[in-house]
């Protein structure tokens, strides 16, 4: 114990202390607001916002310190020790962690601010803020964790908060069902992750779960295991980051309040999967054949295009953004699959995506708050009424579309460069198609929401500064944050976060111009269909009917899940029911039927033969008893009545003891025990 305390004290640095403080503020807020419950309706939200603001400040300081001094040494102490199992609880503050701290606290702070108006008057507002605080704590825990099990614990806590917040309006059937779905689907991935962690621990030599020590401890394993372990860990990321086929929960998760969608299901929690894979990149690259990374790339690139196609036909503004999130996460996962060529790009995209997707969700929240509908076909013409929301939303969309020089352009370009560098042709083609689809559906979304004629009466207007300030901050960031990773500005981001060593990328003009062309084409197509009406939408739908239906039904993935997993279980239980009804009940009925037959036989015997004998005996008895009766009535009754009267008299007195009052019985029982004890004490001990 002594040496752990010493090692703990020895390695504390200002950076680590501040990182722990960053976690401590929201935890404190969660405890206070969560415990005060209904009392905290007025001041709870304000307090929560203040704690997050403090964390934001400390996390920025941490980032500054890490930029200046490099990563802080990992601080850890022994968490539990049993046999040869030693688990540490530690904080690892390096560049990746510092970046994530800033992203999480920034988005969380803006969402806290935004929700002041959005959730105003909701009876559960204190619970809402307490859960947001807990979520922020857990997410910060995930990014600072120094070993896999600690990471997993916070990972599950994040999942729990996601469940609670999706089902925040739990009186709505769709909301709690969405919450359950999210929980179960991500649990499928978490099973894989946990199996992976256990395998890591068992197979590593020496046994360890430390993120720093694992790659070297696992290096000498058989190649097959080196493929399986990363893929199991990747399963967890697939669940959390909504990769095909475990993406089904994310669109439903939009049942939660919109600020929650912005914070959890767009900017931070879904990025936890990306973070996990990035943290374990050392394990993924152990496999000499690169199979694990290939799987990651293909899953990611397929998810990217798959979700983008679905996003083009959604009517609900939040669903469009949800599928766009899945698609962008697919982009990041794909980039991670490029190993060291995509590592930086994926995290760069994670950061820029957090900014503009948080902005888009908050903007959609502002729109929904003003119009009370989520269907884009019922909006329109909001540009005049809500200029700030509209402008920021358009900036966010351009950033997401990846138009030069917005943030999305730089990070997307970095990913494409990674694909090119690893000669991954198929992912590159899929990514380019996605790069074309993204501006198309965002143009459609913006146009339907803000332009054209109002398709439905509404009295939309801009909300207070608490709503618009986060939008403006995020819009500014969405425009400028890309420059930190731009090749023309010294590749600051790439120099800060890299895998093993920093390598400067040559500027690939073909890709830059190609992708910009695709973006412009996508915007042009969107405008052509929705703004200028060059093509009739109905005609297009008629021509492309099979494709339209395929996308509209989300590639039938939900149906496939029903067919593969839900239906068989259902049939099995049906079969068991049938078996029970037919076979077991049949056997029981057969036995009953036999009993009835047997009973009939016995009855005949009884009625015919036995009764005859009994009747004869009865006749004789009657005669005798008539004689006895005379004697009885006259002689014996007199005596008996006397005794009965006496008994009745005594009984009426004694029955009062039987009060029927249970405590009485118990008291008498225990009193008797006490009496016996006292008597024994008196006679046996004292004398």
């Amino acid at each position: 114990m002594e040496h752990t305390v010493a090692s703990l004290a020895g390695s504390w640095t200002l950076t680590s202390i501040l990182a722990v403080l960053t976690m401590a503020f929201p935890l404190l807020g969660f405890i206070i607001v969560g415990l005060c419950g209904k009392i905290a309706k007025e001041w709870g939200p304000k307090l929560a916002t203040v704690t997050i603001f403090l964390s934001l400040i400390t996390s920025i300081v941490v980032l500054g310190l890490v930029i200046a001094n490099g990563p802080a040494p990992t601080v850890s102490f022994v968490w539990l020790q049993s046999g040869n199992l030693t688990l540490d609880f530690g904080f690892r503050v390096d560049q990746l962690c510092a970046m994530m701290l800033c992203v999480v606290t920034l988005v969380s702070f803006l969402v806290h601010l935004f929700s002041q108006d959005y959730m105003h008057g909701d009876p559960g507002i204190a619970r809402f803020y307490a859960e947001l605080q807990l979520f922020t704590t857990a997410m910060l825990g995930v990014v600072t964790a120094s070993n896999l099990l600690q990471l997993f614990a916070f990972w599950e806590l994040v999942g729990l908060c996601s469940y609670l917040l999706i089902g925040f309006w739990f009186h709505k059937r769709s909301a709690y069902q969405a919450a359950k779905k999210a929980f179960f689907v991500t649990k499928v991935g978490d099973m894989g992750l946990f199996t992976g962690i256990v395998m890591c621990f068992i197979l590593s030599n020496p046994h360890t779960l430390s993120l720093e020590a694992l790659p070297s401890a696992l290096a000498s394993l058989a190649p097959a295991l080196l493929i399986i372990i990363p893929l199991l860990i990747f399963m967890g990321a697939m669940g959390k980051s909504a990769q095909f086929p475990l993406h089904v929960w994310l669109p439903n998760a939009m049942e939660g309040p919109t600020p929650v969608s912005a914070l959890i299901h767009a900017a931070t929690m879904v990025a936890a999967g990306i973070y996990l894979v990035a943290r374990c990149m050392g394990l993924f690259t152990l496999d000499p054949s690169g199979t694990a990374l290939k799987v990651v790339t293909y899953v990611g690139s397929f998810t990217a295009i798959f979700a983008a196609t679905i996003a083009t036909v959604q009517d609900d503004i939040k669903k469009v953004l949800a599928y766009s999130t899945i698609s962008q996460l697919g982009y990041m996962v794909m980039a991670l699959g490029f190993g060291k060529f995509g590592y930086t790009a994926a995290l760069f995209h994670l950061m820029t995506h957090a900014m503009f997707k948080g902005l888009l969700f908050l903007g959609s929240g502002s729109v929904i708050h003003a119009t009370h509908t989520q269907n884009m076909h019922e909006m329109g013409g909001l540009f005049k009424k809500m200029p700030i929301t509209a402008w920021t939303f358009i900036l966010g969309s351009l950033a997401l579309a990846g138009l030069f020089p917005f943030a999305g352009f730089w990070s997307k370009d970095a990913i494409l460069v990674g694909a090119e560098a690893t000669h991954s042709t198929i992912p590159l083609i899929l990514a380019l198609i996605t790069a074309f689809l993204t501006p198309y559906y965002m143009t459609r979304c913006v146009w339907l929401t803000f332009f054209g004629k109002p398709r439905k009466e509404n009295h939309a207007h801009e909300a207070s500064w608490r709503t618009t300030l986060p939008l403006i901050i995020l819009a500014v960031l969405s425009v400028v944050i890309g420059f930190v990773g731009a090749p023309f500005f010294g590749e600051l981001f790439q120099r800060f976060i890299f895998f093993h060593e920093f390598e400067s990328e040559a500027v690939n003009w073909t890709l830059i111009f190609g992708s910009t062309g695709l973006v412009l084409a996508g915007i042009f197509l969107g405008l052509a269909i929705y703004a200028w009406g060059w093509f009739k939408k109905e005609t297009l739908i008629r021509i492309l009917k099979p494709l339209y239906l395929f996308f509209k039904n989300k590639w039938f993935v939900d149906e496939a899940w029903t067919f593969i997993a839900v239906k068989p279980l259902f049939y099995l239980s049906e079969f068991c029911h049938w078996f029970d009804r037919t076979v077991i009940d049949g056997a029981v009925n057969g036995v009953a039927w036999l009993s009835v037959i047997l009973g009939n036989i016995v009855y005949w015997f009884d009625a015919g033969i036995v009764d005859g004998l009994v009747n004869l005996a009865g006749y004789l008895t009657v005669k005798v008893s008539e004689l006895v009766k005379w004697f009885d009535e006259n002689v014996i009754d007199g005596a008996v009545n006397g005794v009965a009267a006496l008994t009745g008299f005594i009984g009426s007195k004694v029955r009062k003891v039987q009060t029927g009052y249970l405590p009485n019985y118990a008291t008498i029982m225990f009193a008797s025990i006490a009496l016996v004890l006292i008597l024994v004490a008196w006679f046996a001990v004292l004398n």
Binding site: R655, Q658, T659, G660, P663, A666, T667, F670
Partner: protein, 99 residues
């Protein structure tokens, strides 16, 4: 020095008796019975710790816990059934034992 624990066991047992005799809610009486069982178990363990091999006494406690669990299940089942039938769980209102 062990008699401190024996006294504690006796005290907990007596608190259980006190509750069982004075309270009216059936669930609370069940809770008090748990207290009494715990007092007895504590006495068992405290005495056993003085023996060279505490296994036998501890095994008895294992049985006692198993029986306590059964008793609680049945008791609570009965209370829930009582609640369904009558709408209250106040034990003293049950006077079926009365003549």
């Amino acid at each position: 020095m062990n008699y401190l624990l024996l006294i504690l066991g006796a005290a907990i047992f007596s608190f259980g008796v006190l509750g069982a005799l004075t309270l009216r809610n059936a669930i609370r009486i069940l809770m008090c019975i748990e207290l009494m069982l715990n007092g007895a178990n504590l006495t068992f363990i405290a005495t056993a710790s003085q023996l060279p091999d505490p296994g036998l006494a501890q095994s008895m406690v294992v049985f006692a816990i198993a029986i306590a669990a059964s008793e609680t299940i049945v008791g609570l089942g009965a209370i829930v059934a009582m609640y369904r039938a009558k709408g209250w769980v106040t034990l003293e209102q049950f006077s079926l034992l009365k003549w």
